[in-house]
């Protein structure tokens, strides 16, 4: 256990050295002044370093080993990009600097936007959304704006397969729309007939992740998007799984009108223990006028941040998005180029299919009726017969020194284990991971307590989540004095 900074705090210690104040002091009015202690830690720089380094040692991370979280695309984060994003000429810019003083950054943003449009097959782009969920919101707001402009305010239903990420329905609610669930067929894909039956004059959009959360590319995609268009709806693609499609297929060519990208997935920017991400949105010409303010444009004087005028649906962030993340993603695209991006996708798809092949016979793989894309889902009702419980498998994997896959998602597969090795894993590391999973399946038959007791080789044992939710200690209590 690592004591908190508050527990090691000692009055009089400090972790910074500040210059003397070189101007006369101005009194803060008494009625406004903060009195009493704030309660911040009092520790030295050395103590702070030791504390956070020791905490860091209690984390798993991509440089320790495979991080096979499905739909999360945990690939290697290039070191160069960290250095580039920290160049003072790029990092120390006030966001409200006049355009002519930030031409380099605007040029980069413009170039990145152009690349993303090419990759997705669209013409319009905003780099502002801070993460995928805000990108989804952006997409639905563009769609909402288009319907309102067309005089169709009644279009407020979003068709969504039952395998959708939780953000999709949550986003629909925020955008003032209602979810209409669409069934999946026996092959794990969208039931086209169900889409046709459910589209109508109230359809705002279809929201689809393709490849879907089972890692399957929807072969009927053109028929699906066309059915929605025929009914006057628009098609939104959740780009969470774009790693399966770089240079292979483009949402703009599949009948989608808009999509978001997760730069922190597909384009290798680090996850940071939960963020920052970046969720740019690309769209076709019809939706462009509604993009959020501001966008980067190129004109005779160079590059500028420009408002979309009063057609824009508004603004998502105080400034221009997570620019530091954009710096990293652009470096990734520029390093790889068109051929390299295609290799990324091929590598990701080969790796996922290879892992699936290695596990065949040891774990059930539902919907295994052909190649998967960049990920696949193991699990299903047969797990119980094998003595396997997803949670235990996941925890036991931690004992083997691996991170666990995404568990219990998508909801349409019981006891789901959703695995995405990504292209940056070597064949050897995938073999090691597969062998651990196979060994765990054997343990489940021979020594099941190893699974139910797991993890035992981790900084802490299995944690009591019920206690956490019931007793709710979310801040360090102040010391009684």
């Amino acid at each position: 256990m690592e004591k908190t900074l508050f527990a090691i705090s000692c009055p009089g210690r400090i972790g910074v050295s500040l210059p003397e104040c070189d101007v006369p002091e101005t009194e803060i009015p008494n009625d406004l002044a903060r009195t009493g202690e704030i309660g911040l830690p009092q520790v030295t720089e050395g103590q702070v370093m030791r504390h956070f380094v020791r905490l860091s040692n209690r984390n798993y991370n991509i440089e320790k080993g495979i991080y096979p979280l499905g739909s999360c695309t945990m690939k290697y984060n290039p070191r160069l990009h960290e250095a580039l994003a920290r160049i003072p000429g790029l990092a120390a810019l006030h966001p409200l600097s006049p355009d002519h003083t930030v031409q380099g950054t605007l040029e980069l943003m413009h170039a990145l936007g152009t690349c993303l449009c090419e990759i997705t097959g669209f013409s319009g782009v905003t780099l502002q959304p801070a993460a995928g969920a805000q990108g989804e919101f952006t997409g639905l707001m563009l769609i909402r704006s288009a319907h309102l402009a067309a005089g169709e305010p009644g279009r407020d239903k979003v068709l969504m397969p039952d395998s959708a990420h939780g953000t999709n329905p949550a986003t629909s609610t925020m955008a003032g729309m209602k979810v209409v669930p669409v069934k999946s067929n026996d092959h794990g894909m969208v039931d086209v007939e169900d889409v046709k039956a459910k589209v109508g004059p109230d359809t705002a959009a279809l929201m689809l992740t393709n490849p879907n959360t089972l890692g399957l590319f929807d072969s009927n995609i053109l028929e699906i998007t066309e059915a929605v268009h025929r009914a006057g709806g628009l098609n939104y693609m959740d780009g969470a799984n774009m790693n399966a499609m770089l240079g292979v297929a483009r949402p703009g060519d599949m009948g989608f009108d808009v999509c978001h990208l997760n730069l922190h997935k597909t384009f290798s920017t680090p996850h940071g223990g939960g963020g920052p991400g970046s969720g740019p949105v690309c769209c076709n010409e019809r939706l462009e006028p509604y993009l959020p303010n501001p966008v980067v444009v190129k004109n005779n004087d160079g590059y500028a941040l420009s408002g979309m005028g009063n057609t824009s649906f508004g603004r998502l962030m105080a400034f221009h998005g997570n620019v530091g993340v954009l710096y990293r993603a652009y470096a990734y695209i520029m390093t790889l180029g068109a051929a390299g991006l295609r290799e990324v996708t091929e590598g990701a798809v080969v790796n996922a299919n290879y892992l699936k092949a290695r596990l065949r016979g040891h774990y059930p793989v539902p919907f295994d009726n052909g190649p998967c894309m960049h990920e696949f889902v193991a699990g299903g009702p047969e797990m119980a017969g094998l003595g396997l419980k997803t949670l235990d498998v996941a925890k036991r994997l931690l004992d083997y020194g691996f991170h666990a896959p995404t568990v219990y998602f998508p909801l349409i597969v019981k006891e789901a284990l959703m695995m995405e090795p990504t292209e940056t894993e070597t064949m050897e590391s995938i073999d090691e991971f597969a062998e651990a999973l196979i060994a765990i399946a054997r343990e489940a038959r021979e020594k099941p307590h190893l699974l139910t007791d797991a993890p035992v080789n981790t900084p802490v044992l299995r944690l009591d989540e019920v206690k956490a939710a019931k007793e709710l200690v979310v801040v360090e209590p102040r010391e009684e004095s």
Binding site: I28, I62, I87, H100, G166, T335, L398, T458, R462
Partner: protein, 447 residues
């Protein structure tokens, strides 16, 4: 092959054999022919690591803003960042980790964020805080939505002295749900007009959203606002500059129900606007209506202290369309930067930084007024202030830019001649004197 894809042709062929296909293309058969790309994407040619370093150096050189002495704020501030902050952020154990879904191997992130929550709550004077939002503006919009969940009322009152970008984000978030937004005007002193507040709130409101110090840098009467809100069953949402909380009273202690803001001043570079981290602090009673992640303390099977994400049933991955927000990925690493910054500066250092900002802002304001600017508002300020210049603010901006300064921000909302200045502890007396000198010179030139 490239440096991020390790499986060469020989290995790949072995893998394809194991998979049971001949060629990589066979794996893409589910993608209909009609949508499959034939050629390559039309992208710029790839660059080596060395070429890319050169290219970024070129781009950085086309920027000049970072070389200017900065007197601009309005939501982003030029503070000093101790070296130790980045030293922690660049530890791959933190920056290349995912969201802490497997708590047993994520205790580092989880405990760090728990400590972050504690520091933010203490700073804001509230009982609790969440694990962070995207930025201050989206945190403010989410706080308004949260207030509407708590009260069941679908109207919010927003101070006219709120940062206009924040105001735009609130509208973007609230309008699709059919919620009503009304603006509370500010008086000649730059503060909320209490009479207008009393009138407007009678129509019923979920929340009053007030920034303090407000967009013009002025400290609002939070205790009074809270009293009025409470009397009308509305929540008070206060948007705070965290640095100001080192010198002025915590909004939570004055009765604010939700305190939000941007953590940028706490160890995060200006970075042309992001990534920053929004914070959201509130009382324990409202935790279940709160958006975003929250870390809780618990025990493991052996009774050891540990940390987990808790109250997850509010979140999108469980509650789906009924979730309190769609937020998933947040700005965790930036919240970590806040935590490291606040630990380093600590009780004494943080308060000293805030005091220096206050003193220096007052020094600069007096100097600019002496040189020919006029005060617009009379209310007390902390580290930002608006002045009326003897001429067009954009013309002054041009001249001061040429003199090597990023001056205050022209604020057309207050007139063509208004400018909003910000000062941090980083500014020296020498820099401020030089700026006052350049301003003085510009006064003679601008007509």
């Amino acid at each position: 092959m490239n440096r991020f894809v390790p499986n060469c042709r020989t290995l790949r062929d072995r893998m394809l054999t194991e998979i049971g296909v001949k060629r990589v293309e066979d794996l893409f058969t589910p993608v209909p022919e009609k949508v499959r790309m034939r050629g390559l994407l039309n992208l710029p040619p790839a660059m080596s690591e060395m070429e890319l370093v050169r290219e970024y150096a070129r781009l950085a050189k086309s920027n000049t803003s970072h070389e200017l002495v900065c007197f601009r704020g309005a939501g982003s501030y030029d503070h000093f960042i101790p070296a130790a902050v980045d030293s922690i952020l660049t530890r791959s154990e933190f920056f290349t980790a995912y969201t802490p879904y497997q708590a047993e191997v994520s205790q580092g992130t989880l405990q760090a964020i728990f400590e972050y929550q504690t520091m933010i709550a203490r700073l804001c004077g509230t009982e609790a805080a969440n694990a962070g939002m995207y930025d201050g503006a989206s945190a403010t919009a989410e706080a308004a939505l949260m207030a509407m969940r708590v009260t069941g009322v679908n109207r919010v009152l927003v101070a006219g002295s709120l940062n206009p970008s924040y105001r735009e984000v609130i509208e973007t978030y609230l309008v699709p749900g059919g919620f009503q937004i009304n603006e509370i005007p500010f008086g000649p002193d730059g503060l909320l007009d209490p009479g207008a507040v009393r009138t407007l709130i009678q129509g019923g409101a979920a929340a009053m959203v007030v920034q303090s110090p407000n967009y013009f840098g002025l400290v609002e009467n939070i205790a009074l606002a809270s009293e009025t809100a409470r009397a009308n069953n509305a929540l008070l949402v206060v948007v705070a500059d965290p640095i100001s909380l080192g010198v002025i009273q915590a909004p939570g202690a004055l009765g604010a129900d939700i305190v939000v803001g941007d953590g940028q001043p706490l160890g995060i570079p200006m970075g042309f606007g992001g990534p920053y981290a929004g914070f959201l602090a509130t009382s324990t009673a409202h935790l279940r209506k709160m958006p975003g992640r929250i870390i809780g303390r618990t025990e493991d099977r052996a009774g050891n202290t540990g940390y987990v994400m808790t109250l997850q049933t509010r979140e999108q991955h469980i509650r789906r369309e009924k979730a309190t927000s769609n937020i998933c990925t947040n700005q965790a690493l930036m919240a970590l930067a806040n935590a490291v910054y606040l630990s380093l500066t600590g009780e004494a250092g943080f308060r000293e930084i805030a005091r220096q900002c206050h003193h220096k802002a007052h020094y600069l304001e007096a100097g600019l007024v002496k040189a020919g600017a006029r005060r617009i508002f009379s209310a007390p300020f902390v580290r930002e202030f608006a002045l009326r210049l003897p001429g067009d603010a954009f013309e002054f901006e041009d001249r001061l830019l040429s003199a090597g300064f990023l001056p205050g921000l022209p604020v057309p909302g207050l007139g063509n001649d208004a400018m909003l200045f910000a000062v941090t502890e980083k500014r020296t007396r020498e820099e401020m004197d030089a700026f006052i000198g350049a301003f003085s010179k510009a006064c003679g030139e601008v007509r």
